[in-house]
Assembly symmetry: C2
């Protein structure tokens, strides 16, 4: 398996602007090219687009408007973890030797399809994601005594982090009281426990060990990959206080990278709702099961940025097909030491956890500088 | 690069039935499993879906209803060459070592999105594919003297071949006169020069050299891959009597497989319209430029099946996301000697050419038994 590096990154602001999906993608591609002076369109032999948008032939459209004539070009869709799937697909094109340089660009509009889980008949009329997150919350509360304040702390922390992320959807912080008193959406979930759909785009350049030398002196290597899909309907889950697909994917990724949870210096985890981050830090092995709430509280109280330094989905916004991409951009920039005010010191090994639809599938990447 | 084999195939009938996309896919998956007694759901670690359908999370849905819990799972879209792109993506997952066994399933409904090329503003109001095929036809007629009868011969030949394909959309043959006298759609194109959108599905199992031993004694190896995307809008083409993306992709594929056009025993080429097959047999190097019309006439007159033995898109129908898959299934079965009445004798090396949107992109596979 050939080594594959991340060598360049592009981002747009996340907002509610009414922008065409191809224009969103072009903005992230331009941002990537602007930061990579040695990169020419002719270098790129794969263009993949990650989105839930219904546009067809989007990778060819984005290639054309970017002035690229790639060999391999297609769209990748897997709902909320489209982004990580796209990057892993690009990894495999390069690792196999079929390609040397891949541009992956993810984008979504605020009004994207995929926000409501229409296909899951087992949900009855409860197709909105707040219902699965509500059931996850109730289950974790019962088993481990997680409180409304614990949930609010996730949101307060991630909004704090987002304030140093110039691309974040949210531009303000919230107190724990404000979050706990925000609108009740269900018995278990308040408005500020939720990530917000928005428009946004992120782009990543991947290259083989040989090709990457032209583009960067600080490559970030993909050393671990783990993925698992359990079902498409979350009511098949046997356990709602854990994410089984995340546990399986993490086991694979740690094994491939020859790393332990304790080796991870910085991580982006998929906090679609507050409860997700608490469950994920447990299921990724950062802390013992049932202790996620205490762990996140300590991070908040000590202003420790190592989980979701860019503000996570709750602070930065959740443009579905761009989310996994933006998570990887953040960890890439952290490992390059280029995360500005968000920088976690001594970050050498990072992890990205990107999941879909009540964690019925999970994708995990381990990155190293 | 690890070797990758095609080891199993599944197909549904192509028709105009009103069937849900996931049910279509499940039928092709069932057909594949029925023909692979040693294959268990637990063997499959990649599930990719190829379609232009707007369904989200379809690969997870198809995995769930097929009883598979894969590692890697996502949809691939690139309009009419989604199928070949999906198989090449699965190839790269296995060739890189990320996976061992991949199930790829393509399907489309007769009323699929992607039939009209909405994104190509350069077409003005002429967004239907008959307009690009009309311009290709006019250009080839002017340059090389191709006649209406030459075009009709492609259609007559492929309808003849389809009669021996139990899955084909068309169940009858047409005389050259009937084709030439079918409804004029433009100055250059008649109704029976066109492939027909339809519902249908095809599935393929790919495996590594080690894993394939469990599933088959007659593996078909992917030995050559070539792809090229030039643009998303065909008016960027400098030349309308050739398919530049096909020439580029074929050059790559022949080089990778260390083969010449003369080595190809049997080929599926993307005859979305009659003119396409004439241009493609030239651009793939099977005959000198401008001689495609004579070449196809000879195939017809000698009842030589080596081009589009299953009837091509014109005879078998064109369910977009399933088309490239069905082309690969046909060549796979030909190389296994399992093509029944359609069998081309002594077929050892085969080629598939699958393209999108006026050949603005092309994907080519070379397969060997």
């Amino acid at each position: 398996m050939r080594k594959v590096a991340l060598t360049g990154f592009g981002l747009t602001e996340f907002n509610k602007d009414d922008i065409a999906i191809d224009s969103l993608m072009l903005s992230a591609v331009k941002s990537l090219f602007d930061s990579a002076p040695n990169l020419s369109q002719k270098d790129v032999d794969v263009v993949l687009t990650s989105t839930n948008d219904n546009s067809k032939y989007l990778s060819s459209i984005v290639s054309e408007i970017s002035g690229i004539r790639p060999k391999i070009s297609h769209s990748v869709e897997s709902l909320c973890n489209s982004g990580a799937n796209s990057v892993i697909s690009a990894f495999s094109y390069i690792a196999s030797g079929l390609a040397d340089v891949a541009l992956v660009v993810g984008a979504e509009r605020f009004d994207s399809p995929g926000l409501v889980l229409e296909w899951d008949k087992s949900r009855g009329q409860y197709k909105h994601p707040i219902y699965w997150s509500s059931m996850f919350t109730k289950s974790h509360v019962r088993k481990y005594g997680t409180t409304k304040e614990d949930l609010a702390i996730v949101s307060a922390k991630n909004h704090n982090h987002a304030l140093d992320n110039p691309c974040a959807y949210f531009k303000k912080t919230y107190s724990i009281d404000e979050i706990m008193n925000s609108k009740n959406l269900t018995d278990d979930i308040r408005l500020l426990d939720c990530s917000m759909p928005c428009s946004g785009s992120a782009a990543i350049l991947l290259a083989s060990e040989e090709a990457m030398k032209k583009f960067t002196d600080s490559p970030v290597w993909i050393t671990g990959i783990g993925q698992k899909t359990l079902s498409a309907g979350f009511t098949k889950n046997e356990e709602l206080a854990s994410m089984e697909s995340t546990i399986d994917a993490a086991t694979m990724a740690y094994k491939m990278a020859k790393k332990e949870p304790g080796d991870i210096d910085v991580a982006e985890v998929h906090d679609a709702f507050s409860i997700c981050e608490i469950i994920e830090v447990e299921d990724l092995g950062f802390v013992r099961k049932g202790k996620g709430n205490e762990f996140v509280r300590t991070l908040y109280e000590t202003n420790d940025r190592r989980i979701n330094p860019r503000g996570g989905l709750i602070g930065a916004g959740h443009p579905l097909g761009a989310t996994g991409m933006a998570q990887i951009v953040e960890i890439g920039q952290q490992l390059q030491g280029k995360a500005g005010k968000r920088q976690v010191s001594q970050a050498r090994v990072g992890l990205v956890q990107n999941m879909s639809a009540a964690a019925t599938s999970s994708s995990i990447l381990i990155l190293e500088s």
